[in-house]
């Protein structure tokens, strides 16, 4: 702090702090709190009623959210699909990160990294459209499989939960790989060699040495991937169509109906339930917040 004051002067430090505070309070915390407040007020179609005697705090919006059986079904489906997306991303990301870390010395790591990154220079919507082309009824995958004689009828990929999950894994796998890579990179290679020298087979080295070391990276990668998958709108919209509905779609439908209050209640519900789910998982896998911040 004193170092900062010496460099920028007291006024400069005050200006920086004020800027950060404005950004954090007015642009992040403020809108969120406004949404929470909206969620606890009734929808008043007549603007004149807003702020009037009818505009009171109530849980009626949440009652609507929780009492509708469809909401629960979509919510459970969203969570379930996001869990599969997270697990499959981890199953793909873990070996990939390990190969990346182990190839650091060979000089291949740069090329591999660029190979991973280049597709992500393209906008998420365009990438999802590309998957639509691949997965379509007469798209690349179906025509290839038909031409090879493996299938007679095209498989329905689009407008299914499966198609959405494929798109989500592709969209968010880097958010799994990067935390895994950075924690794995800090593992001393001698630890792996030492375990091997003491007689540990391949899988034991990973179970006893690499995975415990990588646990913080696994935890933060899983949390980010899960939250992004559960909160994704574009991918289910483009690949799920009208058949595979995500919870985000329900939120959007309320905003579209100009019922911001009910929409906020939907949004708030999703955030809180996802957070509770993550805390539950952290307790089950004995991960503390300190581990993740490490």
């Amino acid at each position: 702090m004193s170092e900062a004051i010496r460099r920028f002067g007291a006024g400069g430090v005050a200006a920086i702090l004020a800027g950060v505070a404005f950004w954090a309070i007015m642009l992040i915390a403020g809108p969120m709190l406004l949404m929470v407040d909206l969620a606890f007020r009734p929808y008043l179609p007549n603007p004149a009623d807003v702020g009037g005697p009818l505009d009171v705090h109530t849980v009626s919006n949440f009652a609507k959210v929780f009492l509708d059986d469809l909401n629960w079904r979509v919510f459970v489906k969203t969570i379930y699909a996001s869990i599969t997306v997270t697990i499959i991303s981890l199953l793909i990301g873990y070996p990939l990160s390990y190969i990346l870390v182990r190839s650091t010395k060979s000089g291949w790591v740069g090329i591999l990294m660029i190979g991973l990154l280049i597709p992500f220079w393209v906008n998420e919507i365009l990438r999802t459209f590309a998957w639509q082309l691949l997965l379509a009824r007469y798209g690349f995958i179906n025509t290839t499989l038909t031409a090879m004689g493996l299938i007679d009828e095209p498989i329905q990929f689009t407008n299914t939960d499966f198609g959405v999950q494929v798109g989500l894994i592709y969209a968010y796998i880097l958010f799994m790989i990067f935390p895994l890579y950075s924690t794995m990179e800090s593992l001393d290679p001698n630890q792996v060699d030492a375990a091997r020298d003491l007689g540990a087979p391949f899988w034991r080295i990973h179970w006893d040495i690499v995975i415990p070391h990588t646990k913080p990276g696994i935890a933060s990668g899983c949390i980010v991937t899960f939250m992004l998958a559960a909160g994704s709108y574009v991918v289910p919209e483009l690949l799920g169509g009208t058949r595979a509905i995500w919870f985000t779609k329900l939120i959007y439908l309320q905003f579209e109906a100009i019922n911001w209050n009910l929409a906020s209640a939907y949004g708030f519900t999703l955030v809180v339930l996802c957070l509770l789910f993550i805390l539950l998982m952290m307790a089950v896998f004995r991960v503390s917040l300190k581990d993740i911040a490490r």
Binding site: D188, N190, Q191, D193, A194, A195, R196, D197, L198, G199, A200, P201, R204, D208, I209, P212, H213
Partner: protein
């Protein structure tokens, strides 16, 4: 004996670079054997070949007559102590020591017995539940040794494990390592660039340079009777006087140097006309009084460059004709150390029996190879 380790014509190439050129050495069970050499001499490559992390390009490594080639490090009866120890920081001391037994499927109760015995061996009884980062440097060292010994290896490999410790602790650990080795009877193979460590601990030392073994012998043989100019110059301090052999007879030789003709032992049988280097240890050179009788000793006269007092000894540096490296005379501090002043010409003497004629470094690797 049952568990002798043999390296037969072991070669290791990395692409076009040959790291190890045909190394031959046999170590009987229970020997404390050191590979001593500067960094890049191939000693770590040899260690990694014995432990199984890399395979030799040619030749064989045999334990008790069995070729180890193709057997992975996790299946070999060798254990390696890493330079940075590589203890598992997320496990307790006891779990570290018991790890090798756990992956071998040894039952927990049996494991605990071995761990307790190991903790007693390294004098850390009661430390089993401690975390690794709660230990001091010397304690970590001992835990790493216990972890390696717990799997009862036939050969324990040590990769400069003392280099991270401070001087006092390093000297203490030398004694402890040596005592542990005697108590367990396991073959220790020690890799180091520190000649003090190698000479102090080992039964035998192999001095290495550029992928070749220059000489194998006991500490005294290596120090007193170096076979090559590299060994003479690398192990301990040595004065080198280059010249040409003029005569050779009865195990002695005469060499014409910038200081004139000098006589020395000639164990390699160098012949007149050959380029040679005379080596003489600084502690074997004495000051000669101006008029004193020198008998058959070699005498050199040269200006004093500097005098360096080091406590137990004092070094006098004399100008060396034809070389950047001065001639050093080491005198024990016996209370009668003479004073010298810079620039003053002094006569020094040494016996031909204390000097040795060797071929210059690099000339040793002729077609004949090594003895």
């Amino acid at each position: 004996m049952a568990n002798d380790l043999e390296l037969v014509d072991v070669v290791k190439k990395f692409g076009a670079f040959t790291a190890v050129h045909g190394v031959n050495v046999a170590m009987p069970q229970g020997e404390f054997f050191s590979f001593l050499g500067p960094s890049g001499c191939g000693k770590t490559t040899i260690l990694r070949m014995i432990s199984g992390f890399i395979d030799p390009s040619a030749g064989a490594i045999r334990l008790a007559g069995r070729d180890l080639n193709g057997i992975g490090p996790n299946k070999r009866p060798t254990a390696l102590i890493f330079q940075n120890l590589a203890l598992f920081p997320l496990m307790s001391v006891a779990d570290n020591i018991g790890y090798g037994l756990m992956v071998r499927g040894v039952a927990a109760s049996e494991r605990r017995k071995v761990v307790d015995r190991m903790l007693e061996l390294i004098a850390l009884k009661g430390y089993g539940d401690k975390r690794i980062d709660e230990l001091s440097g010397g304690q970590k060292q001992r835990v790493a040794i216990a972890r390696a010994l717990a799997v009862e290896p036939k050969v324990l490999l040590l990769d400069e494990p003392l280099s991270a410790l401070d001087l006092k602790l390093r000297q203490h650990m030398r004694h402890e390592l040596r005592a542990l080795q005697r108590r367990t009877g396991v073959t220790f193979i020690y890799i180091t660039h520190d000649q003090g460590e190698a000479l102090a601990m080992s039964d035998r030392v192999a001095v290495m340079s550029q992928g070749r073994i220059e000489q194998i012998g006991t500490s005294t043989e290596i120090y007193n009777n170096p076979q090559t100019a590299f060994v003479a110059a690398f192990v301990g301090e040595n004065n080198a006087l280059a010249g040409k052999v003029t005569a050779a007879d009865y195990g002695y030789g005469a060499i014409e140097t910038a200081f004139g003709k000098l006589r020395a032992a000639n164990p390699r049988g160098m012949k007149p006309g050959e380029a040679s280097v005379l080596f003489v240890r600084p502690e074997r050179v004495r000051l000669a009084e101006a008029k004193a009788e020198t008998g058959s000793d070699n005498v050199i006269e040269s200006p004093v460059l500097d005098g360096v007092f080091e406590g137990p000894v004092a070094n006098i540096l004399l100008e060396n004709l034809g070389s950047e490296r001065p001639i050093t005379v080491t005198l024990a501090n016996d209370g009668a150390t003479p004073r010298v002043s810079r620039g003053e010409r002094r006569r020094v003497r040494f016996s031909p029996d204390d000097a040795i004629l060797l071929p210059p470094a690099g000339a040793a690797h002729g077609a004949g190879g090594h003895a």
